[in-house]
Each structure stands twice: as C-alpha cells, then as structure tokens.
C-alpha cells in the first residue's frame, strides 16, 4: 500500500513525528497512552503490514512484562500497599505506573518504526542540508559508501580466498589474521580511491562560497493545510498541558483531572493528531474508489 502521508513534504513528516513521539513519551495519562498505542499500531500495520506489527508486538511483549514488573520492585512509593516482599512494600500505584511506562515505551518504539519507513534518509538529509550542510553531505556519502564497501569486502575476501587466505578455515589465529587483512585492504582501498572522489568534488566546485541545497520536494497547498492542522493540534495539546488535562499524578496516589468538556476536546484533539496519516490514507482511498467507479 502506498502511504499518502509519506508523499507530503518532509517538514510535515518530521514535525508530525517529533510531536507524536515527544507527546507519547510525555503524556502518561491512561487515555493518552491508549490513544497513542492504538494509533501507532494502526499506522504501522498500514505502513509495514500486519506481519511486521505482529513481530513487533511479540518481540515487545516480554519487554512490556519486564518493565511492568521491575518498576514496583524498585519503586516503593504510593499509598495503596498490596503486599511486602523482603520488607519492601509493593504498591498499587507503582504497578499501575509500571504498566503505564511499558505502554509508553512500546508505543514509542512502534512510532519509531513508522518514522523509519516514512522519514527516509534523503528526507532527513534535505531537512538538515540547509542547517548543517557539511554534516548532511557526510551523511549522504556514508550512505553511499556502506553498500559500496559491503560489495568490496566480498570482492576482497574472494580474491584472498583464491590465494589461499580464507577466513572460513584455519585456526582461530589464522582466521583473525586473514580477517584483519581483509579490513586493512578495504580501508587502504577506500582511502586511496577517495582521492579521485575528492577531485571529482573539486571539479564540480565543492568549497565555493554560498553552496545551496537542492531538493525534489515542493511545499504545496496540501502540505500547508496538513502542517497547519498539525500545528493547531500541537497548540491544543500544549494548552491542555497547561490546564493539566493530559497529566496525571501516580504518586503518592493516582490523581487526574475530572473529565470535562474541555478535557474531551483535548482527548479528541490528541486522537486527531495521532490519526492524521491514517485519515489521509482513508480519504485518498475513498477518492480513488470514486474516481474508479466513474470510469
């Protein structure tokens, strides 16, 4: 499935993920945690398929239990004592807090997996190309070199194998020696050949003053409206934060604000923010459905 949100301008993608990931880390209110986890799951299924999500979830489950269990063992705050282990109180609040942090952690991880498939390296390089041009060039070069080096390692190790220097047989010392030889050859090869790369950069005027950074991305009307929506919702969240709508005290006892109309608005706002990519995808699907049915 093609993700509509990924097609938006990188600034929109990046703003969205920064906000969502920070909010997910930060809002420990059960409603917010629940929203974040569910939206993250939906979006990651949409992006990476149900298999990846399943894998994520199974992989996460032990971690979730671990975090949920560890917390009450070390955190003895809270007023509702359930039992004592070695004279240490286990409290209801700290168990709940453990579950909450586990949920938070998992949703953050899932959000990152979405981030990884939406904000690709070239979007990142575009975003930071203007602020840190040399570093983003280093980044782009590193990304170019990694596959090149991996291929070259294969070439070198085959060539070495054919002069009887195989990494896969011989005793440990010989193997290690042959392995190091391969790495040495690779590094020498890479550095010596980079001189031509440096020449090619100089040929094309690298180092002149006033370098610009080109991008294939255009900020159009749709980007503007989505970014506007995201920013509006972020403001709403900050507003909610100031009012204390999305915070919760776990210790000494669990206290959160009563649910009012205002808090309902903040909740809905949060859900809306989280579900923007999914909503965009659904809108796109409907549009295509209509376009097709007209033909």
């Amino acid at each position: 499935m093609k993700d509509t949100f990924s097609g938006l301008h990188p600034i929109v993608n990046f703003t969205y993920f920064t906000a969502v990931i920070l909010f997910s880390m930060f809002f420990m209110h059960p409603v917010f945690l629940g929203f974040s986890l569910v939206s993250a799951l939906i979006y990651s299924i949409y992006l990476n398929g149900i298999k990846a999500a399943k894998f994520n979830f199974l992989y996460m489950l032990p971690l979730l239990l671990l975090v949920a269990l560890i917390n009450p063992l070390f955190n003895h705050e809270g007023v509702t004592i359930l039992l004592f282990i070695n004279d240490n109180p286990i409290t209801y609040e700290s168990i709940i807090y453990g579950i909450a942090s586990a949920t938070m952690f998992i949703s953050v991880i899932i959000w990152f997996s979405c981030y990884n498939s939406v904000v690709t390296s070239d979007k990142f390089i575009y975003l930071f190309g203007k602020i840190i041009p040399s570093l983003s060039l280093i980044l782009s070069m590193t990304l170019r070199f990694v596959p090149k080096f991996k291929a070259q390692i294969k070439v070198i190790s085959n060539a070495q194998k054919c002069i009887g220097r195989d990494v896969s047989n011989g005793n440990v010392l010989q193997r290690a020696r042959n392995g190091i030889k391969i790495i040495s050859i690779l590094i020498t090869w890479a550095l010596e050949n980079s001189i031509e790369t440096a020449d090619s950069m100089k040929c094309r005027g690298y180092g002149l003053k006033g370098r610009t950074s080109f991008s294939n991305y255009r900020f159009d009307k749709r980007d503007k409206s989505v970014l506007g929506t995201i920013c509006g919702l972020i403001l709403l969240m900050i507003f909610g934060m100031v009012l204390g709508e999305n915070t919760i005290d776990y210790f000494p006892s669990i206290i959160f604000k009563e649910i009012t109309i205002i808090s309902a608005i903040v909740y809905i706002g949060y859900a809306a923010l989280l579900l923007i990519p999914v909503a965009l995808n659904i809108m796109e699907d409907i549009k295509w459905y209509h376009l097709k049915s007209k033909i």
Partner: protein, 554 residues
C-alpha cells in the same frame, strides 16, 4: 574562437629530473573534438590536468595556458568549476552522494543556484541523457556504464564550455564504452561543447575526432587530423602504431599511396582498392595442438544459481581446458563468464554437475591444496590483493607461510618481478603504480604461489595496447613453462592475438569452442575489426598482422 591556447608548457613533478611535459604548444578551437593518445605514462593525464587548475599537480611549471583569451590561472574558481568540465577515469570513485538526482544536482549546488534553476537543469540533463528512468534510484543500483553516464551528465548540468575526459571508458565493457562515446559525440555535435578526450581504445574515438594529438615522453609528436596522423606516423615508423585503430595499423603495414582509412568500412575500401585476389592460404594456425594433451580443467554439465528461487546463471556448462594452452572465454556482459570462473576456483559451488581439476573434483580439494602450487586466480580488480606499503613487501608477504630462508624468498621475489617487468617498481607503494603496473604486480603476487593453472578475469581491463602486448608476452612465457591459462575477456582483439583456444559464452554456457582462426573467421559480427575488414579477401586473417602478411604476400 580559441578555447584553449597552450604556449611552451613544460612541467616537472617534484623530485623528478624527467620532464613530465616538454614544450607543449597547441591551440584548441571552440567546438573541436580532440583526442589525445599515447602510451600510459606519456603525460596525457598530466597535460589534461593542467587544463583545470584545481586538479593541476604540484611541481615546476613553465609556459602559459590561456582559456578563451584569458590566462587560465587568472580565472576564478567559480568560473573554472562551471566552464571547464572534467570527467575522470573510474566511474565509481567520482560519485559522491547516494542518490542519482542528488549527484546530478551536486555541482549546481556548489555554484549556489536556486532550487528552480537546478530543477530545470536537471530535468534537461535527464532528458538529454535518457536517464529519467533511474532518476530516483540509489547509485548503488547502477551498472558501471550508467555510473559513468551519470558522471558525464552531472558535469554537463553545469553547462561547461569545454568537456575534458581522462580515459573515461577504460573501466567499461565495450558496449557501455561505445554508448558512452556516442553520447560524448552527441554533446559535441549537438551542443557544440569543445571535447578534449584521452583514450586507449581508439577504434571508435579516432573517426569521431577533428584532430588527434599523439604524445610520447611528455612531448607532442604529431597533432593533425586523424587521417594525417595515420599517414605521418607511417612515415616516421613510430611505435605508437600499436595503439592506433586496426584500419590505421593495417594501412601502416602495406605500401600504398592511398589516404589513410579510419573505420572498418574505409579499411575495406582501402583493401579493395589495392586490387588483391582472395586467398585463404597465407594464414596457418599459430600452433598445432599437441595431441593428445591432457585435460586440466573439466566442467561437465554444470548448473548454478545464487539462490534457490533465483534464476539459473550457469546452464549446463561443459568445458575442457587442455594443458599448456591459453584458453579464452569471450562473450557479452552478464552472460555468466565471471560466474563460471568462480565455479572453477571454488568460491561458488554448482548445484548440479561436476567441476574437476586434474581429474579430481574441486570440492574434494582442501584450500591449501587448491591454491598453492596448483590454481592461481587474478581478480578483476588487482587492488583487492595489495596489503603492504611497498610492492616488495607485498610480494614477500605471499611467501610468509613458506619455510624459506630470507635469501631464497628475496630471490623468488626478484625472479618473478623480472618476469613481469616490475623490478624498478619494487620500492613503490602499490597504489602509486599505474593501472597496468598494478595489474602486473598483482600477477606477480599470484605467480609466487607457483600455480600450474592460472585463471584471469578481464586481464586487459584499463590497459593500453603496449601493456596488452607485454601481458600477452608474459602469458606466452608462462605456458612455455607448462602453465595453463584460462582467461575471461571482452577484449576480442587480445584473444585473437594471444589465445590458443577461444570459447564463446552465451546465456550461461559455452556455445562453441575452436582455435582463434576458426573461431573468429566463422563469426561475422563477433570478430576482430581486422577480420571484418578483410574477410571478403582473406577469410582466415584475424589479426592486423595476419592481414598485413596476407596483403604483402599476394
């Protein structure tokens, strides 16, 4: 209008007594297509690098260079970057970024152009070069030929007045090379960009050029139209002849007062106008097979693929290599030639069929048995072998696990260095050698294992004709010592000249195997230029020397 004017240019490298460039004088008109040729090390690259100050090597320089009437050194960096485009040799090393579009934009970003302008220029270039389809790809996905086209396109995006190319096709296979050169020609004809190109493979470039410059020992010995160059070299009996296109070489070997031919078509006309009678008898086989020679490499109905679900790369390959022969496998790109070699050297294993070496299955050899005193493999890229700081240490390193005295070791090293003629290079760093010398040093390394069978993968890649002849000589010396050579190559001229047996590889297996005479004279497209020129007269003549001999005898 004059593009470049070079006046009395001489140049010394630091700590060198020899002039790398000696009193160069030349004037290059705007829109000209100039080819610079000469042996490697004759100063071609040094001269070209003087035309772009940012690439000019350090050293003592006298004389002056003018670009469009202005002293070149007064030109500012920005103008220099955009007006003088320079394409280097290795397609892979010139690419800086990870995406095709970013690479195209790289130079324009340096010049500080705005987004809209860059977008337009890139779009133009992508359309002109026909690279829209791979525009959004990662550069890692491109083939060598595509990479070099990308390098050319990203230079052209800066709209240079002059395009300088330093052996741009030396790392490409013949088909990618001619595609690349066609594009350069198109740039010259359709955009009017001045082209200054240095090349080893002159077959295609020579007819395209307006003028050819022949250099030797840092001097320009001839500078004229390609035809006149051919005629003048003939008069001077210069050894530069070996690097000329076949038609010119044949012309040089035959007495006549006719104009010099450049292409196969012109060469054919030339031979026709000599009024010769068709005759097949002048050329006999170079060597009769010593029958019954024993088989050293034997592949029997071998199948191979990289993955179980992948497609077959080698399909039912059967091949026999006889002892003491130079056996050449020729064929197009991607037919599986190189993969076939990896089956023989044991790097890959077939899923069906057997590969035998001296009658014993390859899988039953231990690594040590296989590679010492038995099978030697020269990889396509010699740089995959160099580990040490000098060639000598690198060669000695090969003997490190042998129980020999210091003296015996250095004797062995000197012996092999003499064989491949790199004795004067022993103290240099392997990476400071030229491409041909690196090839020889790598060969020396492999030969120290004293192989009885030698596998070579594209041994002539990037070499000039002088080096090729030397390499051929070395191979001949080896087989006279009883070594068997199996090589894989695109270079049919080389195979025609030096191989004892040729096999045609196509679609994962060998289609036909024969002696070079029979092999190439039987083909009509896939054969040497000399044969294509003369087949209507002398069917069996496949090398330039054959044709010359036949002409002079009839």
């Amino acid at each position: 209008m004059v593009s470049f004017e070079i006046k009395d240019l001489s140049f010394f490298y630091p700590n060198s007594e020899k002039k790398a460039l000696n009193n160069i004088n030349i004037q290059i008109e705007q829109g000209e297509f100039i080819t610079i040729c000469g042996k490697s090390g004759c100063g071609k690259s040094t001269l070209l690098r003087h035309l772009k100050p940012i690439l000019t090597p350090h050293g003592d320089k006298t004389g002056e260079i003018f670009f469009e009437g202005q002293p070149l050194l007064k030109m500012n960096l920005r103008e220099q970057a955009s007006k003088i485009g320079y394409v280097l040799q290795n397609p892979d090393n010139q690419i800086v970024t990870d995406k095709v579009w970013h690479e195209l934009a790289f130079g324009l970003e340096s010049l500080g152009l705005d987004n809209a302008t860059i977008r337009l220029r890139i779009a133009e270039m992508a359309s002109f070069f026909g690279i829209q389809d791979w525009f959004m790809k990662d550069v890692a996905e491109l083939s060598g030929g595509q990479k070099q086209l990308l390098n050319l396109a990203s230079i052209m995006a800066m709209q240079p007045q002059v395009l300088i190319l330093d052996e741009p096709t030396s790392q490409l296979d013949p088909i990618a090379a001619s595609e690349f050169l066609e594009t350069v020609k198109k740039i010259n004809r359709e955009i009017g960009t001045t082209v200054i190109l240095s090349e080893h493979r002159l077959e295609e470039v020579f007819p395209m050029s307006d003028r050819a410059v022949v250099m030797d020992n840092g001097e320009i010995i001839v500078c004229d139209t390609p035809q006149n160059v051919g005629e003048r070299l003939k008069k001077n009996e210069n050894d530069m002849y070996v690097s000329m296109p076949s038609a010119v070489q044949i012309y040089g070997g035959i007495e006549s007062n006719l104009p010099c031919p450049l292409t196969v078509r012109e060469g054919r006309k030339f031979l026709d106008s000599l009024g010769l009678k068709p005759n097949d008898e002048y050329i006999t086989e170079k060597k009769q097979a010593k029958n019954p020679a024993e088989t050293v490499i034997c592949l029997n109905d071998v199948w191979f693929k990289y993955e179980k679900s992948g497609k077959d790369i080698i399909k039912g390959l059967s091949l026999e290599v006889k002892k003491g022969m130079i056996h050449a496998i020729v064929g197009g790109n991607g037919t599986g030639k190189t993969t076939a070699l990896t089956l023989i050297n044991g790097v890959n294993k077939p899923y069906r069929g057997k590969v035998k070496l001296n009658g014993k299955e390859i899988a039953k050899y231990s690594g040590k048995e296989l590679f010492s005193n038995n099978l030697g493999v020269l990889p396509q890229n010699p740089q995959a072998l160099f580990v040490k700081n000098t060639v000598e240490l690198d060669l000695l390193e090969m003997l490190s696990d042998k129980h020999l005295s210091q003296e015996e070791k250095s004797n062995k090293v000197n012996e092999v260095a003499e064989l491949v003629e790199i004795t004067d290079r022993l103290q240099m760093h392997p990476y400071d050698l030229s491409g041909g010398e690196q090839q020889k040093a790598a060969l020396a390394k492999v030969l120290l294992l004293e192989p009885k069978i030698l596998l070579l993968d594209e041994p002539t890649k990037g070499l000039d004709n002088f080096f090729k002849i030397k390499l051929g000589g070395i191979l001949n010396k080896l087989i006279s010592n009883g070594v068997t050579v199996l090589l894989v190559s695109h270079d049919i001229e080389f195979c025609a000249k030096f191989a004892d047996v040729c096999s045609m590889f196509f679609d994962g297996s060998v289609i036909t195997t024969n002696t070079p005479k029979m092999f190439f004279s039987g083909n009509s497209f896939y054969t040497t230029a000399a044969n294509r020129m003369s087949r209507h007269l002398f069917r069996n003549a496949i090398t330039n020397e054959d044709v010359i001999k036949s002409c002079n005898q009839s």
